[in-house]
């Protein structure tokens, strides 16, 4: 077997290169290249610099947002007591004031923000990742993240969340209008005075949920619509105003678990009040459902649950007085 030394090898390779070398560029190519600047010019350094500055910032912002949204996924879902567990009574709890258990609905749900964040992150990664294996690796990571996020969202949506299964009323006049399949409960509290009603929240999904509270109101606040002030928990059938002062605390609901809530509200400025007569002509604000905040696998969500009765607050049509 012959031994090819390095010099000989380099000489053979260099000769092969020379054989391939075609010499100067042909005229046709020179003409084609000379016409290139007639096309659209590239962006100026300022714009390129701006995009170079903005894209990494966007990437970092997307990564931070994603991190903040996904950190709760790795926490133990729910830290509140389980159903039936007693919560220490708070002596100063005043159900007539704004109390615990009433929350504001976020403008965007996490199950919308997470996929959007992942998508943004994917676009940014593709924009800044160099070509070749690193871009392929980035693509793989983004695909895995999208798959993970998608599976998570599907899983949380598969869990139908809380539902109202039974209910009762506190300071209300229940009635069932002729021909109506559902009970109608009228809020007859005087303007700005409290009322309460109860309903059960049940977890009919396969995963434990963490009930965080009730969304402030299903209807925009105005002179006609009542407002929610506080939520109570407990199984006292006549809870609410006269029941045990057990303020709402976030609670874990395992699959099949339920919790009875008493919601305290205040009648609106224009409420018809105790003098309301359902047999006459009336106008009312309807509250057919209540929105609850809960989290599943650490992802906060809002669910609309149908009340077991149609809750209505009649109001005086002459209110507020027109100038």
């Amino acid at each position: 077997m012959s031994d090819v030394d390095g010099t000989r090898l380099e000489r053979e390779i260099s000769e092969a290169m020379r054989r391939r070398d075609p010499g100067p560029a042909p005229i046709g190519l020179r003409d084609r290249v000379a016409r290139v600047p007639q096309g659209p010019a590239g962006r100026g350094p300022a714009l390129r610099g701006l995009s170079r500055a903005v894209v990494p910032v966007l990437g970092v912002a997307a990564a931070i947002a994603l991190l903040l949204l996904t950190i709760p996924l790795f926490l133990v879902p729910g830290s509140g007591p389980g159903p039936g567990a007693s919560v220490a009574p708070v002596a100063t709890f005043d159900p007539y004031l704004h109390g615990p258990g009433i929350t504001e609905a976020p403008p965007l749900e996490a199950d919308v923000v997470v996929p959007l964040g992942l998508l943004l992150l994917g676009v940014v990664v593709f924009a800044i990742a160099p070509r070749g294996p690193r871009r392929a690796a980035a693509a793989l990571v983004v695909l895995l993240a999208l798959g993970f996020g998608g599976a998570l969202v599907l899983l949380t949506h598969a869990n139908t969340g809380p539902v109202a299964s039974s209910g009762g009323v506190g300071v209300l006049n229940p009635d069932q209008p002729a021909g109506s399949p559902r009970w109608t409960a009228f809020i007859t509290a005087a303007p700005r005075e409290p009322f309460s009603f109860g309903f059960s929240v049940e977890n009919d999904g396969p995963l434990t949920i963490h009930l965080d509270g009730i969304v402030a109101s299903g209807v925009p606040p105005d002179d006609h619509a009542p407002t929610f002030r506080a939520a109570w928990t407990g199984t006292e059938p006549n809870g609410g105003i006269g029941g045990p002062a057990e303020p709402f605390a976030p609670v874990d609901l395992p699959p099949g678990g339920h919790v009875l809530l008493w919601l305290v509200g205040a009648a609106s400025e224009c409420a018809a009040g105790p003098a309301f007569d359902p047999s006459g002509s009336w106008s009312a604000v309807s509250i057919p459902d209540v929105r609850v905040r809960y989290s599943i696998l650490g992802i906060p969500r809002t669910a609309t649950i149908r009340l077991p009765y149609d809750l209505m607050q009649p109001y005086a049509e002459s209110c507020p007085p027109q100038p």
Binding site: D3, I13, P26, R32, V36, P37
Partner: protein
């Protein structure tokens, strides 16, 4: 002070200055590309081993360079910048070629009908073997060999051109030379 309305003549050459600015950039671009054109074409031809495809590669590189013209802050670095664009384009072409491998049936038929006469020293066979071995290298290995032995670039310059670490350049060059050496040794037996 009495106010007055100043009217502009219709058809004024309002686009003149910006057009002249574009033309200035175009002229500068043409000058720089023209200076590098022969070297770029030869490099692409050696990498691709196809003169027609090399012309397309150089033209495409010029288009990309013009689109990214704003990126080039120092015209003195045009040569390396343009070479990087060209080499990346050639690598894409080699990869695409690997995905859609073309079998040159015509050459096989010609060789079957008109077998080559082996020369006394075996030089032709060795040349063919080296050419085949170069063709058999992977895109990155082939780029590194060409940049090293045709463009006469150093390892750091090759690494900067291809965008990979110097250690990777060395290992791939070592591997490629090993394969070429093995081919030579087989032919010389």
């Amino acid at each position: 002070m009495v106010g007055s309305i100043v009217s502009e003549p219709i058809g004024r050459d309002v686009a003149g200055p910006s057009l002249r600015a574009v033309d200035g950039r175009g002229d500068a671009f043409r000058r720089l590309v023209d200076r590098e054109l022969d070297g770029a074409y030869r490099l692409a031809a050696v990498i691709l081993n196809d003169r027609v495809e090399a012309e397309d590669a150089v033209h495409d590189a010029a288009l990309v360079a013009w689109r990214r013209w704003g990126d080039l802050r120092d015209p003195a670095r045009f040569e390396a910048w343009f070479r990087r664009i060209l080499v990346n384009g050639c690598r894409d072409r080699l990869r695409a070629r690997a995905r859609h491998r073309v079998v040159d049936v015509g050459r096989e038929l010609v060789e079957a009908e008109h077998p080559r006469v082996t020369d006394a020293t075996g030089a032709t066979a060795i040349r063919d073997a080296v050419d085949r071995a170069l063709e058999g290298l992977g895109p990155d290995e082939r780029l590194i060999v060409v940049l090293r032995f045709h463009a006469d670039l150093t390892v750091p310059a090759i690494a900067a051109t291809i965008g990979i670490p110097e250690g990777t350049v060395k290992s791939r060059l070592h591997h490629a030379l090993g394969r070429l050496r093995a081919v030579l040794e087989v032919e010389e037996r």
